[in-house]
Every structure is written in structure tokens, then in C-alpha cells.
């Protein structure tokens, strides 16, 4: 997982509330066998409309999504985070997130920044006035800056630390590598191993 401290990039105003994970990525895409390549699936329904904000050339290559309240509610599918990330988003800003989505985001290196709704409206105004203008999200200071405007955001200390350090769940556990190796040293010989493959000595029942 990449470390994040500041992200500067094009911000997209998504003036919708209650964007649930079904809208972020419809169920038909869950059949895939990869963890990447979901960029085409992101907001698949809405993107059929040429007017949809993500289809507008000014927002090409965006990395910050500024959404209305209750973003990422609904089913727990981790694919929602994968799709946002694959599309190029590193930060999602909202005034309220679905709990599971927020947890999944933190684990997968997507920064979910909680910003007060009045401030979201101010960000929308600034970035809509000049579509495609870059904004800067600073995880160290916990601020979002767009032009003259700077507002602060909330994120819990633990998730912030993980993002700054670039630690996913596995990365965190691997910090205990020594303890794991130590445990393995004392693993009893009778405990099962699948390799090398052994044939039965006699037929069981």
C-alpha cells in the first residue's frame, strides 16, 4: 500500500447524497476474479449518461471525489473501494460515510476525509467555478485546500497513521514477523503439513 501524506489533483464535485455501494459498483461486476481493473465499473449506471460529471473532459484524471452526505452506505462489498481506487481516486470527501465503507477504505489506502457539510458546499462552489482546478488534501495537517479556501477534515488517528505509513492489514501484521517466525520455530512436528504430498498408509474408513 502506498504511503499518503498529501494528494494534489483534480477534484470532482458529486452533488449527490446517499451514494450506496450498489451505485458505486453494481452487483454484476462482483463475478470478476481480479482485485483490479474495476475502473470501468465505477458508477457504471450513471456513466451511461454523457452528461454525468465523470464523463466531462475537465475532470479527466481526477483523484479527489467531493460527495454529498452518506457516501458508501449499503452492502459491505470491498469492490466499491477497489473501483474508486482503480479509477484514480485517492481521496473521497463527504460529510458522512457508511461505516463498513469507511473501514474498508482505510484498509485499502483510500483516504475517506470527513468534512462538515457547509464546508463541502464551499468546496463545491470553488471547484465548480473553475472545473478541473487542482485541490490539495494534506493528511499531516488534516486540511483540504482549493484556491483561497482551506477547510479542515476529520479522520481517526489510527487510520491516519496507517495511511501515512502505507500499512494495510497485512503490512501491520508483518510488523510482527519476528513473533510469527518465533512461533513457527516451536510448532510441534505432529501438526499438519500439506506438502510434501503423502499417500495413505492404509485405507481409512
Amino acid at each position: 500500500m502506498e504511503k499518503i501524506s498529501t494528494v494534489t489533483g483534480v477534484a470532482v464535485p458529486l452533488r449527490r447524497s446517499n451514494v450506496d455501494t450498489d451505485q458505486i459498483i453494481p452487483a454484476v461486476f462482483l463475478k470478476r476474479v481480479t482485485k483490479t481493473g474495476f475502473d470501468d465499473a465505477l458508477f457504471h449506471g450513471w456513466r451511461q449518461d454523457p452528461e454525468f460529471i465523470l464523463n466531462q473532459p475537465a475532470y479527466r484524471g481526477a483523484s479527489v471525489l467531493v460527495a454529498g452526505p452518506d457516501f458508501g452506505t449499503g452492502s459491505s462489498r470491498e469492490h466499491a473501494v477497489w473501483a474508486l481506487r482503480d479509477f484514480g481516486f485517492q481521496v473521497v470527501i463527504s460529510s458522512r460515510f457508511g461505516d463498513i465503507f469507511r473501514g474498508n477504505a482505510g484498509k485499502q489506502g483510500l483516504l475517506a476525509a470527513l468534512v462538515a457539510y457547509e464546508d463541502i458546499e464551499r468546496i463545491w462552489e470553488v471547484i465548480e467555478a473553475e472545473p478541473g482546478m487542482p485541490v490539495t488534501v494534506d493528511l499531516v495537517d488534516r486540511t483540504v485546500s482549493a484556491g483561497e479556501l482551506t477547510v479542515s477534515f476529520e479522520i481517526d488517528d489510527y487510520t491516519r497513521w496507517r495511511l501515512l505509513e502505507g500499512l494495510d492489514d497485512i503490512g501491520l501484521t508483518l510488523r510482527e514477523e519476528e513473533a510469527i517466525a518465533e512461533f513457527e520455530q516451536h510448532r510441534a512436528a505432529w501438526r499438519p503439513t500439506t506438502l510434501p504430498i503423502r499417500e495413505p498408509a492404509e485405507a481409512g474408513n
Binding site: V33, T36, R187, A188, W190, P192, L195, R198, E202
Partner: protein, 482 residues
């Protein structure tokens, strides 16, 4: 659960304590070592993809084993798989196993089969170990006194990369089943009765430990049937303390310990049963003498009653949510309250799934149907849990019994348990099934499932209506109660 050795501990606590890589502090989870990781084609692709993206290897390929089961066809297994999604998942597993050096038993291999049948059969599942798999019915392996539970795809990746999982301790619940089962009543009836008693959410947050004389009397196959369905009571895992039955089952299996290792293992395994005076967070009591063959009437595994009863009347249910659920279930199942369950006609009988597809299950089914003809118009499918079970059954001539009865004898896999392959019910079809989930559409869109034991499945296949061996003239005393 703590590592204190003075306090009397339960079986679950002992296994937990012996796998602590690092004890959690300030509310952080414990880090638990995983002894055995079972992998199948549905929940593993993204886990391997995640490893690839991060450039991480599989830490312990020698503690990992994969098999193809959920999607595999049970007919024409030498032909390419017709369904594209199924084929992609299986081909992806084959590629991943090759790339990461994982042992894989593919369709056609003699060790292929349902992941929860394969592990025990190879002697990989044993007492006192931790077992995980990206599948909720991993609880099956608890029958050996192992701590075994299902995990999600991210956790599959976590275990592949680290051979550990960060976990918060579970609570423990004792399920005491005392007494002697009557002939014709089996392990499946015990677990269906347990779930009907505590409800589909009753086990939430708990590891269930099945105890008591009726459990001790069960074979390993029967104990697996019980632990398998722990998840249907909402529990994360189910366990049975290891004993001589467990050791006898394991001895001589391909991956069971040998020589001095065997002796050391048995010595350790004998220390595992819950200590006298160990405290459980909850306890439940079931009277084995009173149990009858059981059947579900609704669309969750907790909606079950004795087969001698009638379809319940939702109006008589006090809890309004349960009442509403019962009303919806009866509508879906197309059943009227008050109808004797034995009058319900079925279109199909499915004998299979990780709950009941081991050799003893097939023997039990065969013991009832031998020399008989299936009811007209009823489709009967017998699907062994693994290729090895299939071979064993054929060596005993069971396949001939099934075929003479009019049943289809298939190749190993999950099959109609979840209908991911072509083995499905048609809309509106009613099935007596030895599997574990009677959810709406589980066995095919619009299909209606009644969960039953192999003996009830067999009697139902003969009479064409839900029936127990008690309804057949044949004496059943020789049918070993498992």
C-alpha cells in the same frame, strides 16, 4: 480467553491459547497462528491477486491446500465447463496454485472434492489445530477438536501472506446433548433441533462446544455433520472434544502423524477436553431420547420441527418479526398451516453436500433404499463429497444400489447444495435435501428446500412425500444411529 493455566479452561480456550502469536493490548485483537488453510475457487481469486499486486509470496504453501468444488460439474467431468464464470474461476485457481506453489486437487483427481470433506479425509484436520477457509462451513472441522472457522476474501489474503489472523476472542457456549438417539434419528436431527431451539442468531459471537453422551456416541462423520451446521445457528465455530473415536479415525490417514509424532500428538490431544469446572458463557440442554427425525418447513434452518408434526401456524407465534418471517416463508414454500408434514409431496431428493456426503451418509441412505424403487416422478440425486468417497462407495457396491433404486450417481462437488453448477431445482420444485441451507433460491431460483437427514431423504425418495424410516414397514433397528 487468557493464557492462565491455573484456571479451568474450555477446549476452545486451550486451542486459542496455544495459537497466540501475540496477545492483543488495549482492545487490539490477538494475533492467532493458523495451522491449516483450505482454499477453493470462489473466494480465493482476489486474495491471490492482492498478493500479486503487493509482491507478496504465500508464507506457508506447506500449510495450504486447494480443491475445486463449488462450481464443478458432477456429470461429464472430462469435458470443458460450459458456464463461463465457473470456468474462469476454476482456471484462475489453477493458475494461482501453479504460480504460488499451492497443492491443488483438480476435477478428475482422486483427492478432489468438497473442501470440508477433503481435509479430514486426508488426515490434515486434527485435534488442537486452527483451520480456516474462505467458506462459512469450515466449522465442520471442529468435529476433531480443532478451532475452525470461515473467513472473507481479505482474510484469505491475510492468511496466505502471514499464516496468522488478528482476532478477538470468541465467547463459549456448551450444547449438552444427553441420552441415546432412537434408531432412525441421527446427527442431522440433533443439529436441526439445536438450531430450532437457539435460533439462527442464537450462536452469534460464540464457539459452540457439543458435549454429552449422545455426542460421544457419534462417529466422526456424525460429529462433522453437527459442527458443519454451527454456522446456521449464527456461531463462528463448533467443536467436539477429541477422544478415542477421533484418534481411531485419524490413525493411518495420509497426513496423520506417524511413529513418535503420533504418540506425542495423542498425548497432547488428550489434554484438550474442557477441564472439570471450566465455565461457559452460555449453556443449552437437549434431550437425545426425545428427539425424532427432523425437517425444516421454512426458509431458514431454524424453521424446523419434528417430522411427525404439522406445518406451524404463524398466528401462534408471539414474536412479531418471527411471525412475519414465518408467513413469508410459508408463502415462498407454498405451504398451508396445519398440514401434516408427512403429506407434503416432493419433486426431488438431494443426497449430498459437506453436511452429509461422507461414506457413512451414503451407507445410511443405501441401507434404506436397497432393493426398493424410488417414488414415481421424484428425481433422486446422490452426490458424494469427494472423489475418494465415490471410489469407496463403488468398492462397496453402493453405486449399484443407488442406480437400481433409480437415483443418479454423480461425481463429487457441492452440486445442488448451492446450484452454482448446472445441478439446480426448477422454479417451484420442492426438494428434500441433506444439505445445510434452505434459503430462498439456494438450490435454484424459485426452488423449495426441506433440510433432512440422509435417512429421511431415503424414506422420502421411496414414498414421494416427506417421510422418516419409521414410516417404512422395514425394521430399522439395524440402521446404525450415527
Amino acid at each position: 480467553m487468557t493464557a492462565s493455566s491455573e484456571r479451568p479452561r474450555t477446549l476452545a480456550e486451550k486451542v486459542w491459547d496455544d495459537h497466540l502469536v501475540k496477545q492483543g493490548e488495549d482492545g487490539t485483537p490477538d494475533l492467532i497462528y493458523i495451522d491449516l488453510h483450505l482454499v477453493h475457487e470462489v473466494t480465493s481469486p482476489q486474495a491471490f491477486d492482492g498478493l500479486r499486486m503487493a509482491g507478496r509470496p504465500v508464507r506457508r504453501p506447506d500449510l495450504t491446500i486447494a480443491t475445486e468444488d463449488h462450481n464443478t460439474p458432477t456429470l461429464d467431468i472430462d469435458k470443458p465447463i460450459a458456464d463461463l464464470t465457473s470456468r474462469t474461476q476454476i482456471e484462475t485457481l489453477r493458475r494461482n496454485a501453479a504460480e504460488f506453489g499451492i497443492r491443488l486437487h483438480s476435477l478428475g483427481d482422486k483427492e478432489q472434492g468438497i473442501v470440508h470433506v477433503v481435509g479430514p479425509q486426508l488426515g490434515l484436520t486434527m485435534p488442537g489445530i486452527t483451520v480456516v477457509c474462505g467458506d462459512s462451513h469450515t466449522s465442520t472441522h471442529g468435529a476433531f477438536g480443532a478451532m475452525a472457522f470461515g473467513i472473507g476474501t481479505s482474510e484469505v489474503e491475510h492468511v496466505l501472506a502471514t499464516q496468522t489472523l488478528p482476532l478477538k476472542p470468541f465467547k463459549t457456549m456448551a450444547i449438552n446433548v444427553e441420552g441415546t438417539l432412537r434408531p432412525g434419528v441421527t446427527a442431522k436431527d440433533i443439529i436441526l433441533a439445536v438450531i430450532a431451539k437457539i435460533g439462527t442468531g442464537g450462536g452469534q459471537g460464540y464457539v459452540l462446544e457439543y458435549r454429552g453422551s449422545a455426542i460421544r456416541a457419534l462417529s466422526m462423520d456424525g460429529r462433522m455433520t453437527i459442527c458443519n451446521m454451527s454456522i446456521e445457528a449464527g456461531a463462528r465455530a463448533g467443536m467436539v472434544a477429541p477422544d478415542e473415536t477421533t484418534f481411531a479415525y485419524l490413525k493411518g490417514r495420509a497426513h496423520a502423524p506417524e511413529g513418535a509424532d503420533w504418540d506425542a500428538a495423542v498425548e497432547y490431544w488428550k489434554t484438550l477436553p474442557s477441564d472439570e469446572g471450566a465455565e461457559f458463557d452460555a449453556e443449552v440442554f437437549i434431550d437425545a431420547d426425545a428427539l425424532e427425525p427432523f425437517v425444516t418447513w421454512g426458509t431458514n434452518p431454524g424453521q424446523g420441527v419434528s417430522l411427525s408434526e404439522r406445518v406451524p401456524d404463524p398466528a401462534a407465534i408471539d414474536d412479531q418479526h418471527e411471525r412475519a418471517a414465518a408467513e413469508r416463508a410459508l408463502e415462498y414454500m407454498d405451504l398451508r398451516p396445519g398440514v401434516p408434514l408427512k403429506e407434503i409431496k416432493v419433486d426431488a431428493v438431494f443426497m449430498g453436500s459437506c453436511t452429509n456426503s461422507r461414506i457413512e451418509d451414503l451407507r445410511a441412505f443405501a441401507s434404506i433404499v436397497a432393493g426398493k424403487q424410488k417414488a414415481e416422478g421424484v428425481r433422486v440425486m446422490v452426490v458424494p463429497g469427494s472423489a475418494r468417497v465415490r471410489l469407496e462407495a463403488e468398492a462397496e457396491g453402493l453405486d449399484k444400489v443407488f442406480e437400481a433404486f433409480g437415483a443418479e450417481w454423480r461425481f463429487a462437488g457441492c452440486s445442488m447444495c448451492l446450484g452454482m453448477n448446472p445441478d439446480q431445482l426448477a422454479p417451484g420444485e420442492r426438494c428434500a435435501s441433506t444439505s445445510n441451507r434452505n434459503f430462498e433460491g439456494r438450490q435454484g431460483k424459485g426452488g423449495r428446500t426441506h433440510l433432512v437427514s440422509p435417512l429421511v431423504a431415503a424414506a422420502t425418495a421411496i414414498r414421494g412425500t416427506l417421510s422418516s424410516p419409521w414410516d417404512l414397514e422395514q425394521a430399522v433397528t439395524e440402521v446404525e444411529a450415527k
